[in-house]
């Protein structure tokens, strides 16, 4: 029995309380004064990053002859058989069998970023601006030996605790699946699918919605086979790929920074 969260898109009003509660509980810094770029007035930042483990995606959706808004929280799905864990030769990523939390340990991480490639949900993010960067991703508020532990003590994650409309519900994954099925049965507005029940072997976070989840960036082509099954035979190459990848990405990062600096200089020269 592992834990899970049921996200009900029909109950989310896009208040972003979860987004802020996550930062607050996990002592994550804000992107200030280097603020996220303007996306569209609704979403900020547009995606998760090394310091932002969760965001609420807000989209306009065409309905009849007008539009509606729909909101959806995104974060690590905490797969039952995580691709990132099998991709991580350094064992920095581990799934806790008790809770189901897929947890990243920065002390073990070598910075290969293979997890970023492996994740089908585009979740692990790198702190590109740091000299010794680490990966940032939702830990499911699981921190058995640290001060950030919530679910290890039976508490709901910070985001769930703060949700004013019960759009997020924490509990045993099996019980949540039952609840999800009941809601879908009772209300014809729901799409008859629980995202995360079977996708790539199942995830701890489950989604039900009245709107196709693609609009929030969820892939619909994942299948039900766990990803590690595909990747296992290639894992022996990981260390080589990792080293090469690090060099390439660091070079790209420095190149971009340099371009920005040049751009700045140009601007100030004009101004």
């Amino acid at each position: 029995m592992s834990k899970g969260v049921l996200v009900d898109v029909t109950r989310c009003m896009g208040c972003k309380s979860c987004q802020v509660a996550c930062k607050s509980w996990n002592d994550l810094p804000a992107n200030v004064p280097d603020v996220p770029e303007f996306s569209d007035g609704l979403n900020s930042p547009a995606e998760t990053n090394g310091y932002t483990y969760t965001t609420v995606a807000i989209r306009t959706v065409a309905r009849e002859d007008d539009y509606v808004l729909r909101f959806c929280k995104r974060q690590c799905m905490h797969c039952l058989e995580p691709a990132c864990v099998s991709a991580c030769f350094a064992r920095a990523l581990q799934r806790d069998p008790q809770t189901g939390a897929v947890v990243y340990n920065q002390n073990m991480c070598v910075g290969c970023r293979y997890c970023m490639l492996a994740c089908p949900f585009n979740i692990p993010k790198f702190q590109w601006d740091k000299t010794f960067p680490i990966i940032g991703k939702c830990q499911f508020c699981f921190d058995p030996n640290g001060k950030l532990n919530r679910i290890g003590q039976g508490l709901a994650p910070a985001c769930v605790r703060t949700c004013p409309t019960s759009a997020l519900q924490f509990g045993e994954r099996e019980a949540l699946l039952k609840e999800a099925r009941e809601r879908i049965k009772k209300n014809p507005a729901y799409i008859k699918h629980i995202y995360g029940e079977k996708e790539i072997g199942g995830t701890a976070w489950l989604y039900i919605s009245d709107t196709p989840l693609e609009i929030f960036g969820f892939r619909q082509d994942l299948g039900t086979r766990p990803l590690p099954e595909y990747t296992a035979s290639y894992l022996k190459f990981t260390p080589y790929v990792a080293v090469g990848w690090t060099i390439l990405l660091t070079a790209l990062y420095l190149y971009t920074k340099r371009r920005e600096a040049v751009e700045e200089e140009k601007k100030s020269a004009q101004g």
């Binding site: 208040c15 987004q19 200030v32 004064p33 569209d40 808004l69 004013p164």
Partner: protein
């Protein structure tokens, strides 16, 4: 609030947030709960989930609340009266009103002076005085016979309120409503039918509104239209019903209760006028009605004077009434003050938790007006735009002589005290952490300030020292820096002068000087709950025996812990509940059984005998002299019935009458008064302002909180995809937005959040801007209020922030 007080007797939200779960249909108009009152949205969603309630959202924008709407009416900013009068017309034409309720509990049957009339947008009694439009309201009054109001319970008399109303709104047929508002006729009719379904005895309709209704030059009339709609459907005084005014700040209800308004003193007593009320006798004789609960006004005022002046206040000296400041009749509201300031007539100002440099209308002019001040004191958490006005972008600090003082204040979690929410709940909050550095609580600052002023008068004298020197000010607590909050609260609550014991209720107040009370409506909030052993405002008992979400022992709800006001209307005249599933009170044949504190007499005060239901049925609105809800309000200065006028800045002519704007709209003639002409080619787009969940008010706190700053860092304007295409603008482009008052540059958000509306056959674009930014804090940007006009509602002077004209183009 003026609209509510003039219809029901109290200017308050009638129900409370949790009660929303009891609603069958909710009409949210001029409010965006999901964004601005998210905890209220929780109860709306519960109503939808648990009992299949329907939600109608009337808003020009695709708001987060509209995401949950069964029907979304995109009406043009400033056309709420057309929409609401149209709904009223639909209800009357189709006989969908709650007949027994209307006949018994409203003034529908009252006969009005036969001279009353309405012609081409103007009511009878119009005239001019000193070149200004005025109304003589004589012809709006009820017909009387031997001091009794004449009535026709058949509602057939052509001069009865019902017939006058029917005639008045008959012009608001669905076609006309659609032409004015831009809402397609079939969607409007669908909304009418759905909302009218709450006119049945066991159905509850709930209207939720906020600043989208009030911030207009006819804001009070907007509220009146809502209140009338609710009376016609029998939705007042019942569970799940009501007119629910959601306030703009967590404690705005508390601040108005305490009279942070220029026309009131605490407890909604009108401020004494220098002309009309030179003596206590003048005030009491002119301000005390003969019937209704306000007949007790002398007790409230005398007890307040006793609280202010203590032993000095005696029967012989009229309880020091002479010391009370008097109003000079000039406009002392926000816009009035800044108008005087711009003319150099104001020497000093306290901006105490207020940031007019961002939040005021025509904000750039308000910033400029502050340059005329000799001194300015800002009490706030951070250096706000107001505190920094002298070094704002474009200003020359050397040329500004104003001396600015900044007093750092403690935040709500860094001090203790009560806040009063929209639902009138007075809840005590304990201090969570100490304030940082030298930050102090507002109470500490007020206490030291008063003592310093008093010292100055003692040492150097002054023009009128008595009210300062003799003021009762005894809040010191030995050994503590903070004033004694318990003493302050006891004074507000009311106490027996001889024993200094808190009073259980304002019913115990006297006009002979034996009781003192700072604010009568709070009577009982600091009286001990005997079981919980704490003052009522501090208790937190989660007990809801009736299952209606009333939670009678959770904090304290004024008045007298009543959760739903006017609850006599929840029963028929014989005392039988209209809806047996939601009983607030019922007459069992011999006595009243109550779940909520009754808003009517149930026991004779002298004999203790039960009061039969017929008696209270005759006057269920106890704060009104006539005792019945006003469909027609002779007391509202700009008209007894709401009438559609255009916003002062409008792209179109009023198609209903020649009267383009509210003839009594508050206008000024200074440099803040610039306006675009009707149908202006230079400013062709309608603009409206709104808030975001990420920020609070002027952003003074939230833009200084890194986690909030990063989730909404940029000022932007929402424009429709169609307009964007026409102007060749993409999301993220810098655009210049310009009104007759000024211009700003911000990001463009191109989404179907707004879209062009078809107004009388012509497509007109609407654009929308949040107003949370300024030139201080972690993230900065222009304020939308640099564009808003300085015109206001005649009754409240609230500025017309919600509808004005702009032009937009791509910034270079």
């Amino acid at each position: 609030m003026a609209g509510l007080a003039n219809t029901f007797g109290r200017g308050v939200m009638t129900n409370h947030f949790i009660d929303y779960k009891n609603s069958d249909v909710i009409l949210m108009i001029g409010s965006n709960s999901a964004e601005n009152h998210p905890q209220a949205m929780r109860w709306i969603l519960k109503a939808k989930q648990n009992k299949g309630a329907k939600l109608i959202v009337a808003d020009p924008r695709l708001t987060k609340s509209a995401a949950f709407a069964d029907i979304h009416l995109r009406h043009r900013p400033g056309t709420d009266i057309a929409l609401l009068n149209g709904m009223i017309n639909y209800i009357l034409q189709n006989n969908l009103y709650f007949h027994d309720y209307v006949v018994n509990y409203t003034n529908a049957s009252y006969l009005v002076n036969p001279d009353f009339g309405f012609h081409d947008g103007v009511f009878s009694g119009a005239g001019t005085k000193d070149g200004k439009f005025t109304y003589d309201t004589k012809s709006w009054q009820y017909q009387t016979e031997e001091d009794k109001i004449k009535k026709d319970p058949t509602l057939q008399d052509p001069y009865c309120v019902f017939q006058l109303l029917k005639k008045h709104v008959s012009r608001y047929d669905s076609k006309t409503v659609s032409r004015i508002t831009g809402v397609p006729e079939e969607i409007f009719l669908k909304a009418c039918a759905l909302y009218a379904s709450t006119g049945k005895p066991d159905k509850a309709g709930n209207v939720i509104y906020a600043m989208g209704i009030t911030q207009h030059t006819y804001g009070s009339q907007n509220v009146r239209a809502i209140a009338m709609l609710q009376l016609l459907l029998g939705n007042i005084g019942i569970c799940g019903g009501g007119v629910n005014a959601q306030r703009g700040e967590s404690n705005v209800q508390g601040s108005t209760d305490m009279a942070m308004l220029s026309h009131l003193i605490p407890g909604y007593l009108s401020v004494p006028s220098a002309v009309a009320h030179p003596t206590l006798k003048d005030y009491l004789s002119k301000e005390t009605p003969e019937s209704g609960y306000w007949a007790n006004k002398p007790k409230f005022l005398v007890s307040m004077l006793k609280a202010f002046y203590g032993e000095q206040a005696t029967q012989e000296n009229d309880f020091c009434y002479a010391w009370l400041p008097k109003h000079d009749g000039k406009n002392r509201t926000h816009m009035g003050i800044f108008d005087f300031m711009a003319k150099g007539a104001v020497k000093g100002m306290f901006a105490w938790g207020q940031n007019p440099a961002v939040g005021g209308p025509t904000a750039a002019e308000e910033r400029k007006a502050m340059e005329k001040l000799d001194w300015l004191v800002v009490v706030d958490l951070f250096e706000t735009e107001t505190a920094a006005f002298w070094r704002r972008p474009g200003a020359n600090p050397k040329g500004i002589k104003t001396e600015v003082f900044f007093l750092p204040a403690a935040m709500s979690y860094e001090k203790e005290g009560t806040i009063t929410n929209s639902g009138r709940w007075i809840q005590y909050r304990w201090k969570a952490v100490d304030p940082p550095g030298e930050c102090k609580s507002d109470l500490w600052i007020a206490d030291r300030l008063f003592k310093a002023v008093k010292k100055e008068y003692q040492q150097n004298g002054g023009k009128f020292p008595a009210p300062i020197l003799q003021m009762l000010w005894d809040y010191d607590k030995p050994g503590r820096q903070e004033p004694d909050l318990d003493r302050v609260a006891t004074e507000i609550n009311g106490y027996n002068v001889a024993t200094r014991e808190p009073l259980a209720s304002f019913a115990l107040l006297k006009e002979d000087g034996t009781t003192a009370c700072g604010n009568w409506i709070y009577g009982g909030y600091w009286f001990e709950d005997k079981e919980a052993k704490v003052p009522a405002a501090k208790r937190r008992v989660r007990e809801d025996k009736a299952g209606l979400g009333l939670y009678p022992r959770w904090a304290f709800s004024w008045p007298v812990n009543r959760r739903i006001v006017y609850n006599r209307c929840s029963c028929d005249p014989a005392g039988k509940p209209w809806n047996p599933q939601a009983v607030l009170a019922r007459w069992d044949g011999a006595k009243w059984i109550t779940n909520d504190v009754p808003d009517f007499g149930i026991k004779d005060l002298k004999t203790g005998d039960p009061v039969p239901p017929e008696k209270s049925a005759a006057a269920p609105f106890i704060m009104l002299p006539e005792g019945q809800g006003r469909l027609f309000a002779p007391t509202v200065g700009d008209g007894p019935l709401p009438e559609h006028y255009e916003p002062v800045e409008s792209p179109v002519q009023n198609i209903l009458s020649k009267q383009q704007n509210n003839p009594l709209a508050v206008r000024f003639n200074g440099s803040a008064a610039k306006l675009a002409e009707t149908g202006s080619a230079k400013y062709p787009y309608i603009a409206t302002t709104h808030r975001l969940i990420e920020h609070y008010q002027s952003g003074a706190v939230t833009r200084n909180c890194p986690w909030l700053a990063e989730i909404a860092p940029h000022m932007f304007v929402s424009i429709s995809p169609k307009l964007a295409q026409k102007l060749n603008i993409k999301t993220g482009d810098e655009v210049l937005v310009e009104s007759a008052r000024g211009q700003i540059i911000c990001k463009a958000s191109v989404l179907p959040v707004v879209k062009p509306l078809l107004i009388d056959g012509k497509e007109i674009e609407v654009v929308a801007m949040p107003w949370h930014w300024g030139y201080k804090a972690l993230v900065t940007g222009p304020s939308a209020n640099e564009l808003t006009p300085s015109v206001g509602d005649p009754l409240t002077s609230i500025p017309e922030y919600k509808a004005f004209l702009v032009n937009i183009r791509k910034a270079k």
